[in-house]
Symmetry: C2
Subunit: 408 residues, 2 copies
């Protein structure tokens, strides 16, 4: 039988799509450490983006081949590796059938909002890559592993910034004397975030029509780079993006602080979002896998631990910097994005805690450790990559083959 669930019903084989990326690599090692059989599926296209744009991770990451070998040597555990593009169904099908997972954790998408706003080609690439890739995963599971649990990474950005509390995936609406619990309305604000909204709708449909089981993890912004596994050896180190295209707010600020560059607060800095430590990302995924939904169920968790405005983050980084003897200040730069800079924000995030998540909080200690990593790799920082160069309003149809220092 092609069914992938082991006879005990316990999940033991996990396929991590996007397992060479920032969240995926840390998750693959964590699950391997916890005793799961893990396969990594990745096209390595994220490494290609770096080559094409002239960006790079702050931390010097090893090749996937070396990483996997090093993990085996250190832990005694093997990771299966399938290098290919999930938009290529033949590749995906053969990987899925060969590995026969109980759960598929799907990180394998183009995940940068600015990247999706560089030019028309990359906007289209992002939606094609993400939406078609996920459709292929859904078809492959339906056909070859119908009981397999899909754990799909979404983003908190799908919800936008509504003036009411954000619930976890669904909201009960009372209207004209009647009531229903419906998908929470989505207001995404980049072609990347929109691709996640599309995915969520597609996945919900297949759970209903085909009886698949899925967990949509609407993740906040991830910070940090070390997990117990990735810090075991230089060749296991995780990527850390600090440039204006792939670097996310807190990670970027820490690197800016380390080199004494003013923290680039976009616009008024009142933009509030949910954040979480990468050590919580890997734990959340483990919790989702260990507690699968029923067949036919489409479940949504908001995966973050704390909310901060950009100004609050900047203040925390400035304070932590002081303790390390670093003097740095915040600078308000014109916002390259189109987004509300002052808004209500209150998003629920209790479901993962109910499953057992014990959050790491953004303390000075953590900032120290993030800052210290930044300081350690100081000489790898390219200052030309820090200022925003992609404008939501100016994105055009002409291909931008080389990024200029200051287009916006």
């Amino acid at each position: 039988s092609l069914s992938a669930v082991s006879h005990s019903g316990k999940c033991s084989r996990v396929m991590v799509i996007g397992g060479d990326g920032y969240c995926g690599w840390a998750t693959a090692l964590h699950l391997s450490k916890q005793g799961y059989e893990v396969a990594i599926v990745d096209s390595l296209v994220r490494r290609l983006f770096d080559e094409q744009l002239g960006t790079h991770t702050l931390t010097p990451i090893a090749s996937l081949q070396k990483r996997v070998k090093r993990w085996r040597d250190l832990s005694g555990k093997s990771l299966s590796v399938y290098v290919g593009d999930i938009c290529d169904f033949e590749f995906l099908e053969s990987s899925l059938r060969a590995f026969a997972p109980d759960a598929v954790v799907h990180f394998g998408e183009q995940r940068s909002a600015p990247y999706s706003m560089i030019d028309r080609g990359r906007a289209i690439f992002t939606q094609h890559n993400n939406v078609i890739g996920t459709l292929n995963v859904l078809f492959a599971i339906k056909e070859f592993a119908a009981e397999c649990h899909l754990v799909k990474l979404g983003t908190m950005g799908e919800y936008g910034t509504p003036n009411i509390d954000i619930e976890e995936g669904f909201i009960t609406i009372n209207h004209n004397g009647r009531s229903d619990t419906l998908p929470y309305p989505k207001q995404a604000s980049s072609f990347y975030h929109l691709s996640k909204v599309h995915d969520s709708h597609n996945i919900a449909f297949t759970c209903k029509a085909w009886g698949l089981r899925a967990t949509d993890l609407n993740q906040g912004v991830v910070y940090g780079v070390m997990t117990p596994e990735t810090q075991l050896h230089e060749e296991l180190i995780n990527r850390l993006d600090y440039d204006a295209i792939f670097g996310t707010a807190l990670n970027r600020f820490c690197v800016q602080a380390a080199i004494g560059h003013p923290l680039t607060v976009y616009g008024k800095g009142g933009q509030t979002r949910g954040y979480l430590d990468i050590r919580d990302t890997v734990r959340c995924v483990e919790l989702a896998i260990a507690n699968p939904p029923n067949l036919g169920e489409f479940r949504v968790f908001n995966q973050f631990t704390e909310q901060f405005s950009v100004n609050e983050l900047a203040k925390l980084v400035i304070g932590a910097g002081k303790k390390l003897g670093i003097e740095v200040e915040a600078a308000n730069v014109p916002n390259p994005r189109v987004e509300a800079e002052e808004h209500y924000y209150n998003a629920k995030h209790t479901k993962l805690v109910e499953l057992g998540l014990e959050p790491h909080f953004l303390s000075d200690a953590l900032l120290d450790s993030l800052l210290n990593v930044a300081i350690k790799y100081l000489d790898r920082v390219d200052r030309a990559l820090i200022m925003p160069d992609v404008s939501w309003k100016k994105v055009g149809v002409k291909p931008r083959t080389v990024m200029s220092e200051n287009m916006a």
Copy 2:
């Protein structure tokens, strides 16, 4: 200047994407008749679907070239024609720049739910064709006709069948003591309907980020085939689909009645939807064009005139048939779709009426005329095409190159 709006600010040049199709052809002629300069953009891929699946329109339609020539000969009005695929940006750009429209009416998508559920390839084709095509239209308008009004065809099917009233695009939600007006939650139930949900989210974003203006017409099921323009001449006749893949409920029932085939009610027949006469489709589009939204506004109209359950439709057709001496009955066939067969349904549709729509109602007269068209072309009916052959649950990854009479 590349700006497409004429100096009076009045809309006079309209590009109809999908102008060779069922709604598009009737709309193109209607607008031409009303004095608009009209261009048709179409890849003619709908005609290819018929060839590939062995389906065909009940009415013998002329080639696009003949249609356009006949209209010029009869009306003295020329239609510009651009044959090509809007997923090809170079083609779209050159057509848009050459014609310089004030409004783009976008009908040009794969619009059959069953087609999108035949196999993986067609599911992917549908989402790719529709989502990428619409993204291209948005980029082309942004870059080459920023003031142009996009009138985009959506579907009432985007809303699904919630247990509360369906509003026009947005709903005001009171939640935990706060309130906001948000996009109405979407619950689409085929890869086709989902593609429309994706489009709506993408369009809303570009109105906000780029200041585009757009009207999303969430259309109900269209019935009828004759408009004053298309009935002028045999070579202007519109297509009428009756097969299980492209035929929509009422049109299909009338053809079934004409040949004495039991009316194929899927499941319990309690499925309720909004319907409208094709003469109202063309008028609604005209009203939307004549009353454009402001720049930056994303407007949604529910475009239908009456609600019916499938059972009610069957009863109306049976009754109308009787008057013409036709004895026909309804037959409940297993529902090939996954959908609620008994549900609450109350959808608002006042905005187009406020703009001046005077609906044609589904009266016996209309049924007569639809039935009479069906009777006129009776000998063109292929009975093998009537029974549903595409199952929502059985859609697989293997390409189905030939449709069998009874797969479900």
